[in-house]
Symmetry: C2
Subunit: 713 residues, 2 copies
Amino acid sequence: MEPNVKLKKPEGTAKPAATWIWYPGDFEIRLLEKISVKRRMRGVMYPTTWRIDRHYSNVRFHYTYDLPEAETVRITAEGMFSLHLDGRDNIRTNDSIVTLPAGRHDLAICVYNDTEAPALFIEGENIRTDSSWKVTSYQSDFVNAGAWTFHSADNRPSQFRLALEPQEPVAREIQDGHELLDFGRETFGFLRFHGMKGEGKVQIYYGESMAEALSTEFSVLTDRFEAAAGAAYAEEGVYTLGESRAFRYVWIHAEPGVTWERVSMLYEYVPLDYRSSFQCSDPQLNEIYDMSLYTLHLNTREFFIDGIKRDRWVWSGDAYQSFLMNYYSFFDLDVTRRTLAALRGKDPLTMHINTILDYSFYWFISLYDYYLYTGDFGFVQQYYDRAVSLMEFCLKQRNEEGLVEGRPQDWVFVDWADLDNSGAVSTEQILLARSLEAMSLFASLLGDEAASASYTALAEEIKETTLRLFWDEEEGGLLHHRVDGETKPTLTKHAGMFAMTFGYLSPEQRESVIRNVLLNPDVPRIRTPYMRFHELAVLCESGEHDFVRKEILSYWGGMIKLGATSFWEEYDPSLADDAHYGMYGMPFGKSLCHAWGASPVYLIGKYFLGVTPSEPGYGKYRIEPNLGGLTQMKGTVPIGEGEVTVEMDLASIRVKTTSGTGVLAFVSSSEPSCNNGAVTAVGKNRYELIVEAGKTYTVAYAAVQKIEASVKG
Amino acid sequence: MEPNVKLKKPEGTAKPAATWIWYPGDFEIRLLEKISVKRRMRGVMYPTTWRIDRHYSNVRFHYTYDLPEAETVRITAEGMFSLHLDGRDNIRTNDSIVTLPAGRHDLAICVYNDTEAPALFIEGENIRTDSSWKVTSYQSDFVNAGAWTFHSADNRPSQFRLALEPQEPVAREIQDGHELLDFGRETFGFLRFHGMKGEGKVQIYYGESMAEALSTEFSVLTDRFEAAAGAAYAEEGVYTLGESRAFRYVWIHAEPGVTWERVSMLYEYVPLDYRSSFQCSDPQLNEIYDMSLYTLHLNTREFFIDGIKRDRWVWSGDAYQSFLMNYYSFFDLDVTRRTLAALRGKDPLTMHINTILDYSFYWFISLYDYYLYTGDFGFVQQYYDRAVSLMEFCLKQRNEEGLVEGRPQDWVFVDWADLDNSGAVSTEQILLARSLEAMSLFASLLGDEAASASYTALAEEIKETTLRLFWDEEEGGLLHHRVDGETKPTLTKHAGMFAMTFGYLSPEQRESVIRNVLLNPDVPRIRTPYMRFHELAVLCESGEHDFVRKEILSYWGGMIKLGATSFWEEYDPSLADDAHYGMYGMPFGKSLCHAWGASPVYLIGKYFLGVTPSEPGYGKYRIEPNLGGLTQMKGTVPIGEGEVTVEMDLASIRVKTTSGTGVLAFVSSSEPSCNNGAVTAVGKNRYELIVEAGKTYTVAYAAVQKIEASVKG
């Protein structure tokens, strides 16, 4: 019931449209709450094994206006609301159309909602909700409201859903009397029954592999319904199942009385621009790149999740890699911000993010990367207080030597590997140091130089201690952990990789880690794409592109040879047949579409096409293309709003950019030339060229033949 | 849909019935969330002005059983659930009937509910949910489940509602053409329209006073509905309004087309035993006692609230007094426990309870009182960790002198009075010292002697500092506050009252506070029943019963003379007519039914009938009856499960008890005698008699004439 009042429409160069606002983070935290219980094991809920945070149910929005004349506004809220003016809290209204008096007034609107995040939408000629409004959770906080893209009263934040698109199976056959559908490749969505009739149960077995769909005993995802009940829910003859699932195959067992015309699905996805591209002389690498993009896209949802079948959870360490891949592909910042906000969640901090020590650190580093790739400090600022408190929480866990250790209740993960993570683990120290550097930068940008200096001093201290206590001259690398003041002799790749990535090693140490650790077959090899991400990245950082390309072809190409249509959680070439699908003690426990399987997107964009920001937000950047053994490649990398296109073969490099200023850097065995700018020699066959937006640069050069990486032993 | 399975019924001396369980405190916290938004200002929501805490939406229950044979159990949950055994979390079920295997097994049941507190009810022959089950919020906590009186699957915690009982108006008249109903006295419930017909709006004005109901502009509570819509919701011809309200009068304005047969109400209340009684030679005091009981009952609801019209909120300082009154009347521990649990709420502690510094302290003291009056240490133990963290939070606010101060965001309340509460307020130090003593006792009972000693040392230090810095020899009392190291000359009654109550003063100091502060007309008098509670209590502690009786007759009797049917939030005899109803800048802003108005229940039970526990749980207790100027009185006080009945006149005392061992103490100007035991002289005309349960003791004695309290001047 709403009075029939015509609101005055804005004229001329309009104020920005009104938008839904909420307590910052609460939209994301509520959305994560819903997503955190979506995982199913054969139809049964499997919620996350950490505290699910909750939005504030009771908040108050504030806005001060000053208007020459009274203004009528329309108020829509998600939840019960009441409005009062100028602190006169005994005089309230909950009318949806309100005329606000002229002059300067303080507007306060309480909103209560115990199911969805309280949200507010006010539209008037001048008075319109946006993120400049303040909001309090009644804790002496008074912060800018959160907002996103909900720009009309009807477009309610609580109703946010991903996009949908019909898809048809590519093949249909009968197996043991039951319909088996193949949707052609890994996909995600709601199964639909067209023209279903009759009575009886319908049982569905989903499979990421055909073997899984055909395993009525062990397929991870299943659905079951009564045909008549389903038919009753049908719209225009189509019954759409209530929950979306990950699958390529479905095997449908129905009781005899049940029939249908056909089965299709509604693909559920985030509409994303494929802003990157890569094409080279090796068709298999092209296929790997495209399949990586698709793998990443499927896992880019309400949040960056780890895997679409299992566990559909939001993990900080997994998201850290997805963020980076995303900067080299979709450059979608909405999912990034949602994920960062939701992962941090609410206080009190009693456990680490996802209960994992390293995963708290990845959150800081991800926030740093967000700033580096986007230049958007506003978002960082909004979450700075939560970053400070998370860091305080982490720093409490340092031992007498100043090294961070896991508490009994903490999971010190590092990697799926046979690691003893007791005591102080070197990798954790390096992640902490990097987190402190990020905090130092944020504090400095906020003008808090004292805090910044304090974070820097701590970072330096931890780096120094770590190199002093963990570096082993004989092994030529960083040892894994230190228990009760004694560094154990275990040598692993992890700490060395991260120390290299973050620039904590001297040139000699870097060289030693490459030769004596990363390329040393006696050091336990890394089996997860999760850590292969870092391993291959640092190898590229050290110029081992050719080695990395071969690894990509062998590892990711190996999955394709086994029929993968998206990349897996883990791949062990030594396994046979369906054994590939097993994990966690379940015959089909492995996720065959795992975000961290998509790292070629990142490796190729960053190290082959070679685009990296030199300052936050890509105002300046480097383009350091490297064929890595290919004879030709061409590709695009998004740089914020703009993009960089690189085309390269053994004799020419062509570069075009649409924003900012780039430096093209390359190696040439002969003096290069350029059609459109002056190439500068920087020594050792290295050359650089300043690249301005909007021009096309074509460089004639001569590729240097790369010598195979030498292996220790 | 549930399989038709017959559960084996328990035989013989049955295990206790299954009961609903939840994360401890979450039932109460969720209930408080709902109650915290019940307040209305003319139909508009006025939520509490502090953070509303929320239940965990995702918890996991655990139970280890060992059974010789398999057992079939029925599972009911509030929320989605999934069960797994022995940590095998990939094998789950959500069937409501499950057969659990024989042997020793660990049962884990995840329950998720984002609206109501997740709760679980499992019934089998041996396996039944109760508070011995463990529950975790996935924060490395593993605590005993919360439970109460929900002993059947259908009796769901989320559906908890107070009792209802039809009530009819005692008078009906037409005022300005509209029906005005009088329900005879202050009441609370849902208005009901019988046989309502026609179309048009119905507008209701509620009034605690007739003047309020007749003020269409300023009545605080209103309701409005469309008659046709209301009629559509009618059951058996009766339309019951959706929300319960506080009122005595209702004035009903309806548009011409609307008619009804009659209007009644559904009284909404907690069913309570009136376990105390009091009758004496003064009928007005009897009336005051009974009206106090009724006032307390109306405010004893889901929680102890402050006032039923306004603000229907749960305040720790108000509840502190209600708890004490309750021990002398209903002895209802359910409401007490609910209130204590809900007030403490959840972490993080960023603000004090109700945002008020003193109100955090009252929570500790209330918990202490709970233990003293009930002896139930189990409840204290369940909340001990939350007490520890609340104390840590409070102790952070000490200044360099070790005195607690309010932060800018804190409300340092003390009382509704013209007080400057800047700096360190003496009353707050005394409340903190008492809170620390409570913590010391709890720690000691838990066997943590180190923590206990530390709390005691802090309490002693704060007491010593407070007496040193605030005691003024010239004024003969405690000064009010100290700013920047300088004690200000303001003398108030508050600190002295609390210091006396908690026994922090020497006999000379006590005497001085009585004469020079409490009975000194130059010290600002206390206007709120809230602080009159403490003032009159300490006067009784000092033997000023006669003075207190007269004060009760004048103050509470004064309200009755003005037509009160329940006691008010504040009473100022100097006001005229309807001005009594105003407060907070509103003509009818005063609450005419306020819990803290009921303190005669406490004063009479504790100081006239004179019953107090000498050890936790009333195993031992004192009975120190005092006529305080009356010629005769008779009454009952509950002592846990039992009760004490006292009858006294100027020449005889009769005592009967049903549990524990009491000491009857009294003053007699001549040697007393007893029919049933040996009276012991303890000096200065004082005598004592051991009183065993089940016997009736009649003592012949001679009352001592009390000399009027002398007033300083």
